[in-house]
């Protein structure tokens, strides 16, 4: 299983943990990830608010590189994933756009490179049976609220990822790891993503609602797959406490971190030391798998 792996900027900065855990998990499961040489910014957050052609061209430039590699493109960051998908959608459904973009990127791009989120690769290509058979530890009944945010599932006709209102991809992974995935109502609730810096007050109230709901549903941790969600849910818990006096103490882990733990990878290799809310309670809970 070989893929072109587009890390995006977060992977090398604010979401190092996302990147490290993804790479470690991929290695453990025999997934070969190759970074496209000379990949560039996908334009998330800024470009699509500025210029439609630019917003499609930035991802297209990267997709064009991957097309030449003859591989599917795997993306981990939900924002990058969304931008890549949007670019593919625009280019393949609008001939005028295709022309504009092709001119901009200096190559004829038709939207044909398959863009996959790493969750899709885990579920569709590796498969739960193989994952289960490879696990070294179990989540041991850990109650996990899987949080998908908006970028993976919306707009559905573009991303075509799972069910836009009640996605279950992460939940299936959590169940396979021996965790209890909670059916809770805020799986795709807005976390305030783009307003993280400009309107912290809005983000605090939105994330408070999400983390609070997860807690009410009995969650012992939240599993995410998007670096924006992770930052907002993890980092803002301190602000929530300051503003509302409520201390949630809710660990927010990337799904690849949880999976990495179950595959027997050390917490440090998975970047768990980079989380704001300690994941110690999660790590303690893990059980050595009976097989080992």
């Amino acid at each position: 299983m070989k893929y072109a792996y587009y890390p995006g900027c977060s992977a090398h900065s604010t979401a190092r943990d996302m990147h490290e855990s993804a790479v470690a998990v991929a290695e453990a499961l025999g997934i070969d990830l190759v970074e496209p040489p000379g990949w560039t910014c996908c334009g998330a957050t800024a470009a699509h608010q500025t210029d439609r052609v630019l917003a499609a061209s930035l991802p297209a430039a990267n997709l064009l590189k991957v097309r030449d590699m003859g591989l599917d493109m795997v993306v981990n960051c939900a924002a990058c994933y969304n931008r890549m998908k949007v670019a593919n959608h625009e280019v393949s459904t609008d001939p005028a756009m295709q022309k504009l973009v092709s001119d901009a990127v200096g190559g004829d791009y038709d939207g044909s490179v398959k863009v996959r989120h790493i969750i899709e690769v885990l579920l569709e290509d590796v498969g739960l049976d193989v994952i289960k058979a490879t696990l070294k530890r179990s989540l041991n009944g850990l109650q996990v609220a899987c949080y998908y945010g908006c970028l993976l599932v919306r707009p559905h006709e573009v991303t075509n990822f799972d069910d836009p209102e009640n996605p279950t991809s992460l939940d299936r992974l959590v169940s396979a790891m021996g965790g209890v995935s909670l059916d809770w109502p805020h799986k795709v609730e807005c976390c305030g993503g783009g307003l993280s810096m400009s309107r912290t007050d809005v983000v605090v109230s939105l994330t408070d609602a999400i983390v609070g709901m997860a807690k009410a549903a009995g969650a012992q941790c939240i599993a995410v797959s998007c670096p924006m969600c992770q930052i907002n849910l993890d980092m803002r818990q301190l602000d929530i406490e300051k503003q509302t006096g409520t201390r949630h103490d809710m660990p927010v882990l990337y799904i690849t971190q949880l999976l990495g733990l179950c595959l027997g990878i050390s917490p440090d290799e998975l970047g768990l030391n980079k989380l704001m809310v300690s994941s110690a309670s999660v790590i303690e809970r893990l059980e050595v798998h009976a097989h080992d």
Partner: protein, 1491 residues
């Protein structure tokens, strides 16, 4: 225009058995046409049968629809075809051939007596589709309680995945259901039909069925294997305890054909079993000393105890199978001898040779083959010697068996070495788990390089296996030769696969392929005539169940071969087709239930012995596990119903069939389906159990529904106190492709809230809506009543999301309130008011018969031709044409019937049948001779009421000549018995004690008529509903009560008298009052049907309001349409026109009305059989908003005229339209229905003229219902501004400095002032002022708004309570042109049911007045709702029988007891009461009463 000719067929096919289809069928059948009523489901009744109450009258929907359904079923000229659909239509109008596909009911509707015994016997509960999956039903059941036809049906879905996946196709679902019913022996019997090795497979089957289980991904598959084991163990237990004896030993007949089987493994045993069952003489030759093959010699006893194996082999032996053991074919007996002594041979020798590793050191002692090791271990003595440290090579099931056996035989350390990683190992995960638990080490990812040691084993050297399977998934290991380890061992056992014994293959001489026998994949024939082969020897090592399947397959082939039949055609396997994925039950919302666990022998107890490790289910666990089955196939074909049915009515082998029908016309009324609410994911339907659809809520409210009328939350059964309704789910929503309005939902919700108020005390109801569309007759008044209720809150907002709160599972609804703020409120239950969509199935019908659909999939029609499809001769009615409510549906149905009547007028009465009865036997001078028949109703009555005792107890009652009891009195045979008894005993009164007269009285009355007795000499005692059902827990008291009821009925029967109805000559001409659109349409329809019509118009012009209308919303040209209509009416030879005519008097009754007209002072008398009132209404006038004071203020009608005449220049103007002028207020509390559409039409016309003109529409609710909504949308897109105002704050118009309109809208923070160039007033419709005078003459009522009141708002929308008078058009209520056309035609169709008859039957069950007793108080005249009593020339009351409806009100009100109702006479009831209170009535007194 299609010319009538004699070739037309007087029959009509009506597709759809909802209220539309039912009404159309009744109208057609009652006016001389044969009808085929074709319905897709198992019963007619459609959506209406699902509803609780109807709006705005609050009638029980079922109660009002049921009589219509029963009437359909009873009508001789309506043939109901259920579970059917039209699939093709050829020919031309008047002469079609229709193909109808009829799906199997699996129950013979002629034999079924609807006793319900099958339902009681059925073990399978499935979600009830009738209740929209709230609650469950049995697979065999009646569609719903009041279903017509009153026959049960079985729901099937094909074959369940467990059955289709099983190589032997065992009916898994079937035996799981039987286990649930504790029918263990039946379960085993069902398993053995496809697999004689039930107990064995219950232990060691690889259970592919479980991998296919629909439940697998929800909470684990049903534990099928363990259930099989449980049932089989029960059988063995019963044999052990002596409760059950082994079957008799059989011997084959001396002349039976002979079959030899070589090899007594599972394939051979199965084949022997089947062929012995079929009467063949089977001999099995087996090399080893006992039968069983790998079952005995390959599977260790801790997994499959020998006694289990012996038991099932013994059962096969007892069928007459001969075993020849210790006999190696080829050595002890030659194949030639076997072939000559037998008629066919089956080879199933299995693969018993282990594969070698082919590495260095393999030939040392203590290097064993696993298969040899296990065979030795399986023998009673001569167990193999096991060394201390054993290494087993292999990762499959044999390797695991070897390792675990070695441990049990005393090895101190056992290690398995497998090439595969853990997840890739071919052994079953549960086996691997057990192996690890027992302390065996598994070394994954290593392959043997060489075996160490010098003659005796010292260890083994391993090399790293880096890949086991290649890219294509083939076994093709790749090693890293440099990565090696060595491990010490005393013994190496190799278990890497088995193969055939080559010498045996050679000996037989059949063709082989890669070391196996080559056999035909379908028939298992080998290359040698008469020799078949199957099992591992053909397939290579496979599972037991695959061997069983091979045995079954070969048995079928050999039987066919020996009987000289075709080996290939229609084999069993072909009948097994898997259910399509989309029909499998959804696991969404299914509550998770853990798979039941079986016990295991403790680890420490396993060493050193071969005790069975797995402990089977307890009975409790087994039943709980069986209950987890989702019944994927719906019916499991367990056949419990077949056993339960006393009528032999059930036939699981019924198949689909097709009929061809000759019809002259077709009416499509397939109805609608509700929108799939799950498509609006934000509301969580299907995810949050407390979110239900409006249809589900109807079932919830219904007393006959799954919760018996309790409004509860699905999560905890708690009463729902806070309920929210969300409107427009799937309507007015471009996002889901349904831009149209579903028309009924606002009222349906309002009604649901009102009804729920009665069900839940203190209910807090909130309705989220866009516009409230209460546009029907009396709807707005109902809505205002709801709105004024303090506990019903209307919020103009559509929520964006529903969130289910953790813990409480309350629903938090998020919405933006009227002030624009985001809000959230919590509810116990949310009802999604789902819109209408055409049924998906309809598309198939319409595309095959060539009917055009509109863009939403509804039937494409034209506003001016609302009943016509794109194919001539095919008409449409109901919601399939456009979303509509019940009265409009019924109206349209009658309208469509009139279209068919016009087309087929020449063939009227050509295909109808009238039953001929024998002459009635005169009983007037006879003493009563009563026959009593007490019905068991299967076990329905007899399981509670002691039917024999009832019979004995009543046999001695006075005048009872005979009394008997029967299993099903209503069955065909019983009914002929009743007729025989009538003749034999000269019976002249019949009493049946059975179920309910509602369904069965007509049937028994019919029987009396067929036997030459008057039908009124029948009496029914309801001892089912009133005894066995309501007192089911008190059989003694129920029996006593039954005896009393029957005695009472006998007492009444003694006084029953024969009654004869009279008949009445019909004047076959019509009087139509009113020459507007409705009157013209009705008159033309009747005239086209060949009836004479007198059309009376008050003014000097025909056409009425049409003169002021130029275009429809859809832009049809009305002026041309009107001109054509008038021309046709004026020139029609059957129409007599009376212009400027005034009606001065009307008298008479149905069949013969006399009407006096004066035209220009000249009086005319008109005689007619019926009257149609089509007097129209008038445009409301106003003096508000400066109307009449400013030329710039005008009505919509005036605007339309100017627009039409190009006199209205819109350019650059500000035009303000004000809706509801003088409507929906205290003065005119009703909605005029048309004004919103008119405003939209005129606004669009203005915008078309000048897109820059500003049009403002000030409205309260925009009521562009149905497809009119599209134009509302277009108007908004064109830039028309719609501004809402409240009733309490109407807009104000001032003209100080030019026109200014001021409005304070709840949707805007500040009041708005608009400088208007024109103000257009939507003034609405008022009742005609002359209605009062005419209604007095007709003696029909008006409502408070001055419109005529129909007989029944829902189901008799164009009838008056007085028979023979019909109503249509604006005289009924405001409505649009297409609706008026439908209604006018409906009136014509209803009229035709009378006019088509020369004579009308007048019921015998009518009132009469004893002239001697009458005191001339005229109370009866006052109280009768039908004007039947009148004051005769003697000054006494007399009943006009033609008008009497037999309600009995006069009889109960008459102070002198002079008015009596035939068949319900006071004395007949008195004797019943006397009987009940044991008051003896002396015979002579009785005599007195009778005379």
């Amino acid at each position: 225009m299609i010319k009538n000719n004699d070739k037309k067929i007087g029959a009509v096919l009506v597709q759809g058995g909802g209220i539309a289809g039912v009404q159309a069928s009744l109208d057609l059948a009652n006016s001389g046409f044969k009808v085929y009523l074709v319905e897709r489901s198992a019963a007619i009744g459609g959506m209406m049968a699902r509803l609780d109450k109807t709006f705005p009258t609050g009638d029980c929907a079922t109660c009002i629809v049921s009589p219509k359904l029963v009437e359909c079923a009873r009508n001789l000229n309506i043939e109901i075809l259920t579970l059917s659909e039209m699939t093709d239509l050829w020919g031309e109008p008047g002469n079609f051939k229709a193909t109808v596909k009829i799906h199997p009911r699996y129950i013979d509707d002629k034999k079924c007596t609807a006793c319900g015994d099958c339902t009681q016997a059925c073990p399978a509960n499935i979600l009830d589709p009738f209740n929209r999956n709230l609650g469950t039903r049995k697979v065999v059941a009646k569609h719903y309680a009041q279903a017509v036809p009153n026959v049960f049906s079985i729901l099937k879905n094909g074959h369940a995945p467990c059955k289709t996946t099983c190589p032997a196709n065992i009916n898994v679902q079937g035996y799981v259901q039987l286990i649930k019913k504790k029918e263990y022996l039946k379960a085993v019997e069902m398993i053995r039909r496809r697999n004689p090795l039930s107990a064995i497979c219950g232990r060691v089957c690889t259970h592919p069925c479980e991998d296919a289980c629909t439940r697998k991904d929800l909470d684990g598959p049903v534990a099928v294997r363990l259930l099989k084991r449980f049932a089989s163990d029960k059988e063995m237990e019963m044999i052990a305890s002596g409760e059950l004896t082994l079957p008799e030993e059989k011997t084959p007949a001396p002349d039976a054909k002979k079959v030899a089987v070589i090899g007594a493994g599972p394939a051979g045993l199965t084949l022997a079993n089947d062929l012995a069952d079929s009467g063949f003489a089977v001999t099995i030759y087996e090399t080893l000393p006992a039968a069983g093959g790998m079952l005995r010699w390959g599977i260790p006893e801790y997994r499959l105890p020998k006694n289990v194996l012996d038991h099932e082999i013994e059962l096969i032996r007892r069928k007459g199978v001969t075993f020849v053991l210790n006999c190696r074919v080829g050595e002890d007996i030659s194949i030639k001898k076997i072939r000559t002594e037998n008629d066919a041979v089956f080879i199933s020798v299995g693969v018993h040779k282990g594969r070698a590793l082919g590495v260095e050191g393999e030939n040392q002692t203590d290097v064993l083959q696993g298969i040899d090791f296990l065979r030795q271990a399986g023998s009673a003595d001569n167990k193999p010697t096991v060394r201390k440290k054993v290494v087993v090579i292999g990762g499959g099931n044999v390797a695991v068996d070897v390792a675990r056996t070695a441990l049990r035989l005393g090895a101190e350390y056992v290690e398995m070495v497998a090439l595969e990683q853990r997840g890739e190992m071919p052994a079953y995960p549960e086996e691997i788990e057990a192996t690890l638990l027992e302390g065996i080490k598994i070394r994954n990812g290593w392959g043997p390089r060489r075996i160490l040691g010098n003659g005796s084993v010292a260890g083994i050297e391993l090399k790293r296996c880096i890949q086991v399977f290649d890219e294509e998934g083939h076994f093709n290991p790749v090693y890293d030769e440099n990565d090696r380890i060595s491990i010490g061992a005393d013994q190496i056992i190799i278990a890497i696969g088995q193969k055939n014994d080559d010498s045996f293959l050679e000996h037989i001489g059949a063709r082989t392929e890669r070391g196996s026998f080559k056999a035909d994949p379908v028939t298992l024939q080998t290359s040698i005539e008469g020799v078949f082969a199957g099992g591992d020897t053909v397939s290579g090592p496979a599972s037991i169940i695959e061997a069983v399947a091979a045995g079954k397959r070969a048995a079928e082939s050999i039987e066919r071969y020996l009987k000289g039949q075709d080996l290939i055609a229609s084999r069993f396997e072909e009948t097994i087709k898997r259910i399509p994925e989309e029909l499998l039950p959804s696991t969404k919302g299914v509550e998770k239930k853990q798979r039941a666990a079986s016990g295991e022998l403790a680890i420490q107890k396993r060493i050193g012995n071969f005790d069975e490790v797995e402990i089977g289910f307890s009975e409790e666990a087994a039943i709980a596990e069986a209950e987890r089955c989702l019944n994927c196939a719906l019916c499991s074909e367990c056949e419990e119903c077949v056993l339960a049915c006393g009528q032999n009515a059930i036939d699981h082998k019924m198949t689909e069939r097709t009929v061809e029908l000759d019809v002259g016309s077709v009416i499509l009324a397939p109805g609608f389906e509700e929108f799939d609410a799950a498509r609006k994911g934000e509301f969580g339907y299907g995810r949050y159990p407390n979110v239900v659809t409006s249809v589900q809520f109807e079932r919830m409210l219904s007393a006959a529904g799954p919760f018996e009328g309790h409004v509860v939350r699905l999560t905890d059964g708690r009463e729902a106190k806070r309920i929210a309704w969300i409107q427009c789910v799937g309507s007015r929503d471009a996002a889901c492709g349904n831009e149209y309005c579903s028309s009924i939902c606002c009222m349906a919700t309002t009604k649901q809230a009102m009804v729920a108020m009665d069900h839940v005390s203190g209910l807090d109801a909130t309705i989220f809506y866009m516009d409230i569309r209460a546009h029907g007759k009396d709807f707005d008044q109902y809505y205002e009543r709801a709105r004024s209720n303090d506990n019903i809150h209307y919020i103009k907002s559509i929520p964006s999301r529903i969130v289910q709160m953790p813990g409480t599972r309350d629903l938090r609804v998020r919405f933006v309130d009227e002030s624009g703020r985001l809000r959230e409120r919590q509810f116990d239950l949310v009802v999604l008011s789902v819109g209408m969509e055409p049924a998906a199935s309809v598309r198939d019908i319409t595309s095959s018969i060539g009917i055009e659909l509109n863009e939403y999939g509804f039937c494409a029609t034209d506003r001016l031709l609302p009943l016509e499809t794109s194919r001539p001769g095919v008409f449409v009615a109901g919601a399939f044409q456009e979303p509509k409510d019940i009265p409009e549906t019924v109206t349209q149905a009658s309208g469509a019937a009139s279209k068919a009547m016009e087309l087929l007028a020449s063939a009227r009465n050509s295909l109808v049948t009238k039953k001929v009865y024998p002459d009635e036997h005169d009983v007037t001078d006879e003493e009563p001779r009563i026959g009593v028949f007490v019905c068991h109703c299967g076990i329905n009555i007899a399981s509670v009421v002691d039917v024999e005792r009832v019979t004995e107890s009543v046999a001695g009652e006075p005048d009872v000549v005979m009394a008997t009891h029967t299993m099903f009195t209503c069955s065909d045979t019983s009914l002929s018995n009743v007729k025989d008894m009538i003749r034999e005993h000269r019976l002249n009164r019949i009493v049946v004690a059975s179920c309910t007269p509602r369904t069965h009285e007509p049937l028994f009355r019919e029987t009396l008529r067929e036997a030459g007795l008057n039908q009124y000499l029948f009496e029914l005692a309801n001892i089912r509903d009133q005894c066995s059902w309501v007192h089911s827990s008190e059989p003694e008291a129920a029996t006593e009560k039954a005896i009393e009821l029957v005695k009472m009925s006998i007492a009444r029967a003694r006084l029953l008298e024969p009654l004869e109805g009279t008949s009445l000559a019909v004047d076959q001409s019509a009087l139509v009052i009113g020459g507007g659109l409705s009157g013209l349409t009705a008159a033309l329809s009747l005239a086209e049907q060949g009836f004479k019509v007198h059309l009376v118009e008050q003014t000097s012009a025909l056409g009425g309001h049409l003169a002021e209308i130029y275009r429809t919303l859809e832009h049809d040209n009305i002026s041309d349409f009107t001109a054509d209509l008038i021309r046709r009416a004026e020139s029609h030879s059957n129409i007599n026109l009376y212009m400027e005519a005034d009606i001065s008097a009307i008298s008479g009754h149905i069949g013969k009305f006399q009407t006096t007209l004066s035209t220009n002072g000249r009086k005319t008398e008109i005689s007619s059989g019926i009257i149609i009132v089509a007097t129209g209404a008038k445009q409301a006038e106003t003096l508000e908003f400066l109307y009449g004071q400013s030329d710039a203020v005008m009505t919509q009608v005036e605007l339309a005229k100017r627009l039409h005449e190009n006199k209205f220049i819109a350019k650059g103007r500000n035009i303000v339209m004000i809706q509801c002028v003088g409507s929906r207020n205290d003065e005119h509390p009703y909605c005029s229905r048309i004004c919103c559409s008119v405003a939209v039409k005129n606004a669009l016309a203005i915008k078309q003229q000048d897109p820059d003109a500003n049009v403002f529409v000030l409205y309260r609710d925009i009521r562009t219902y149905g497809f009119r909504e599209i134009y509302y949308q277009k108007a908004r897109e064109a830039g028309v501004l719609f501004i809402r105002y409240d009733r309490d704050e109407p807009p104000a118009v001032s003209d100080a400095n030019g026109l200014v309109v001021k409005v304070n809208s709840p949707d805007f923070p500040e009041p708005i002032e608009i400088e208007a160039d024109n103000v257009i007033l939507s003034t609405g419709i008022e009742a005609h002022p002359d209605n009062k005078r005419l209604s007095d003459m007709l003696k029909v009522p008006l409502n408070s708004d001055g419109f005529y009141v129909e007989a029944h708002m829902k189901l008799r929308p164009v009838d008056f309570a007085t028979e023979g008078i019909y109503l249509c058009g604006l005289a009924h209520s405001p409505k649009c042109i297409d609706e008026n056309i439908s209604q006018a035609r409906a009136a014509a169709a209803r009229a035709a049911t009378v006019l088509s008859k020369k004579y009308l039957d007048v019921s015998a069950q009518v009132s009469y007045v004893d002239q001697d007793k009458c005191i001339s108080c005229m109370t009866c005249v006052t109280v009768c709702p039908y004007n039947a009593p009148f004051c005769n020339q003697d000054g006494k009351a007399q009943i006009e029988a033609a008008k009497c409806m037999g309600c009995g009100i006069c009889a109960s009100e008459c102070p002198a007891h002079a008015a009596q109702l035939h068949h319900f006479e006071a004395d007949q009831f008195r004797v019943m009461i006397d009987k009940l209170f044991r008051r003896e009535v002396f015979n002579n007194e009785l005599r007195h009463i009778r005379t």
